[in-house]
């Protein structure tokens, strides 16, 4: 087990070091996320009643996270395929699931880094208390599901010519339950609604993470086999 984790962390460390030096993924994800927030901030009338903004804001947050995340997921696997280094990983005597966990953890960290920029911007632009513990929990759970499933689907699409189009086409229907649940959780926590009214969405989000990320973990070997 420790050897397995050692390899997983070697892959995560490699991805982080590569990204810190190239800043390819984080800069594009971050710039995209900030621009989308600007567009939404100007597109919606923020002078509207606070309740109106509250209705819109959770959805906007998850639109930003979803599309910025997809941008990063695409780059994360496409870069490995383009330079052939994914074969280097596949040649190594490691369990394929370790590659999946390593890449998914890396993607989780990158998405979290973007969310760390996005959430304070939402506080500023929408003037809403987005930095609540339950909202952060929803964001973490949503990001786990998104990074896990997205890593599998990005691996599927990365070797195709249509990967830029294919990933959203594959990803959005599969991620829809998680997105819906994440939006409902964020809205419930933002409105300070009683937990009984939206707790089942948090349960759905957790179940989604366990089921879909588990499925991705088990099928990655099959997906990356040529």
């Amino acid at each position: 087990m420790s050897a397995y984790l050692h390899k997983v962390f070697a892959i995560v460390a490699k991805d982080l070091t590569t990204e810190v030096r190239s800043r390819e993924m984080l800069s594009s994800m971050g710039a995209f996320a900030v621009l989308v927030i600007f567009v939404f901030a100007f597109a919606f009338d923020l002078r509207a009643a606070r309740s109106g903004t509250t209705i819109v804001a959770p959805g906007v947050l998850w639109v930003v996270i979803t599309f910025a995340g997809m941008l990063g997921l695409n780059r994360s696997l496409a870069a490995e395929f383009d330079r052939g280094s994914f074969d280097g990983l596949r040649l190594s005597p490691i369990d394929r699931s370790a590659i999946f966990v390593g890449k998914a953890l890396g993607n989780f960290v990158f998405m979290s880094a973007v969310e760390a920029i996005v959430l304070p911007l939402f506080v500023v632009f929408f003037n809403l208390p987005f930095l609540k513990p339950l909202i952060l929990l929803s964001v973490v759970l949503g990001t786990i599901g998104f990074a896990g499933v997205g890593t599998l689907l990005a691996a599927m699409s990365a070797s195709t010519r249509l990967r830029d189009v294919l990933l959203p086409i594959l990803m959005l229907p599969v991620a829809l339950p998680a997105l819906l649940a994440a939006v409902k959780c964020t809205a419930g926590a933002l409105d300070d609604a009683p937990f009984e009214l939206w707790g089942h969405w948090l349960a759905l989000l957790t179940a989604y993470d366990l089921a879909l990320v588990g499925l991705a973990f088990l099928t990655f070997d099959f997906i990356v086999e040529e």
């Binding site: 050897a3 050692h6 390899k7 070697a10 892959i11 490699k14 070091t17 590569t18 030096r21 190239s22 330079r83 052939g84 280094s85 074969d87 280097g88 990983l89 596949r90 040649l91 190594s92 005597p93 490691i94 369990d95 086999e225 040529e226």
Partner: protein, 232 residues
């Protein structure tokens, strides 16, 4: 060390390899030649466990593929067309990363040793993206040898190298020919291929078209035979 029997590889309707049989003994250096699209790279990728055969049996160092692929990978070093390295990592970081994946002991000592061997010790902290093609190829050789594999697979290692870099690489490949490892190298360079090998194989249209021991063939005779068997 390598045993291939009745190997068939199909990509949809396209048959890339047809009923291929051959073996490579420990310590033997085999040069595999053939025109583009003959199936050389497909064969090497199957031997490297990167691709599954459609039919037939492949055994590497006693491990039958695909079932024994995980164990076989510990015995295989594969040099691909691409360097399989990370441009943003330094030479030593690349080797250290792959050494971790191979669970090697004494990683630092092994990395130092290999960087010395491939003449990159002075550039060890430089990022690989700043390296020339020849330097990247030398570092790739170090990656291939990191875990001291018993089977070395080289896919057109001289492609894109200038004459000096090619000579340097040839010297390194000669050192691989140490009587222990089985080496299979695909190449379009007849002179290099024949100079390094114990046995030359020609593959055409996915089939083994010609095989001869090095001491049975002359360079001129090989060219003529190659033209004949690949045109048929």
């Amino acid at each position: 060390m390598i045993q291939v029997t009745g190997l068939v590889k199909q990509f949809g309707p396209l048959v890339a390899l047809r009923d291929l049989d051959f073996s490579v003994a420990p310590g033997e250096f085999v040069s595999l030649m053939g025109p583009n699209g003959a199936g050389k790279t497909t064969l090497l990728r199957i031997l490297a466990t990167l691709s599954r055969p459609t039919r037939g049996a492949v055994s590497i160092a006693g491990h039958v593929l695909p079932k024994g692929a995980d164990d076989a990978r510990r015995q295989i070093g594969f040099l691909s067309h691409q360097p399989l390295l990370y441009g943003e990592l330094s030479a030593e970081e690349n080797l250290r990363f792959f050494a971790q994946l191979y669970d090697l002991n004494g990683i630092e000592r092994r990395v130092d040793e290999l960087l010395e061997q491939v003449d990159l010790a002075e550039r060890r902290r430089d990022r690989v993206r700043t390296f020339s093609r020849g330097m990247q190829q030398r570092l790739s050789i170090a990656r291939v040898l990191l875990h001291d594999p018993r089977v070395v697979l080289l896919d057109e290692p001289f492609t894109g190298l200038d004459p000096d870099a090619s000579d340097r690489l040839a010297g390194m490949l000669r050192r691989l020919h140490d009587g222990q490892r089985a080496v299979v190298m695909t190449t379009h360079d007849f002179d290099r291929g024949l100079a390094l090998c114990d046995r030359a194989l020609v593959i055409a249209r996915g089939q083994l078209a010609y095989a001869a021991r090095r001491d049975e063939i002359s360079a001129a005779g090989f060219r003529e035979t190659y033209s004949r068997v690949t045109r048929q």
